[in-house]
């Protein structure tokens, strides 16, 4: 078996799986779907951070 992975642990790759993974690393282009996901997530974090700001007290 060339892939060992556990739910709460590491991923171990060997043989063809490790070789393919390294090619993914070096050859894959940026994925627009991942970029879009990150953009949406960043917007969520921004909104949460805005909501977490203390409301200024009236003078």
């Amino acid at each position: 078996m060339a892939i060992h992975t556990s739910t709460f642990g590491r991923v171990e790759l060997s043989g063809k799986d490790a070789e393919r993974f390294q090619r993914h690393m070096t050859e894959d282009k940026p994925n627009p779907a991942a970029e879009a996901s990150l953009a949406r997530g960043r917007e969520m974090l921004r909104r949460i951070n805005v909501l977490a700001q203390p409301t200024p007290k009236k003078q």
Partner: protein, 179 residues
């Protein structure tokens, strides 16, 4: 459902009651077992952090609609073949990663974008709050076979080998250098 209006996402907190969470299909029973029996303990002891999507409107107020759990991980490629480029690609026998270890949406609320929102949120946590401060190259998950398409739509790459495609929980990842 709309983030901020219909639901919010925050860390699991001690008062959160996980017992009422429904996963439906037996395939997802381990997700419920973890959430009910272990999520709080893992969270409080710093083993894995769980984020919950919480209803924000009257009918669903304070209800847990879904959850996602992140844990520190690594991808060990020690047995890999040699590649020529980039020159030092083989210098590292393992690469730091965060694993999306658990993701589930209550069966009563599926189809409303909650799972997608949890993944978006987790990716942003890793890209914004982890990777800039600690070495972390990947967000990785062991996807259940029926969920492979779901993760691909969100930008995860399926490790493209026969063994992985045929596995019960194929390895999928996002390379944080490419987002």
């Amino acid at each position: 459902m709309i983030f901020g209006d219909d639901f919010v996402i925050r860390q699991l907190a001690p008062p959160d009651n996980t017992n009422g969470f429904k996963t439906g299909d037996a395939l997802y029973q381990p997700l419920k077992s973890f959430f009910v029996n272990q999520a709080h303990e893992f969270h409080q002891h710093g083993i894995a952090k769980t984020y919950v999507a919480i209803g924000n409107k009257e009918a669903m107020a304070d209800k847990i609609l879904g959850f996602a759990t992140l844990i520190a991980s690594e991808i060990d490629i020690r047995g890999g073949y040699v590649v020529d480029t980039p020159e030092r690609a083989n210098h590292y026998s393992s690469l730091p990663a965060i694993k999306l270890a658990r993701l589930a949406v209550d069966s009563r609320y599926r189809g409303n974008g909650i799972g997608e929102a949890l993944v978006d949120f987790c990716l942003a946590i890793v890209a914004e709050n982890v990777a800039p401060h600690v070495g972390c190259r990947f967000l990785v998950t062991d996807a259940k076979q029926p969920a492979v398409g779901f993760y691909e739509k969100l930008g995860f790459t399926l490790l493209d080998t026969d063994d992985n495609r045929a596995g019960e929980t194929p390895v999928m990842f996002i390379d944080l250098l490419k987002v």
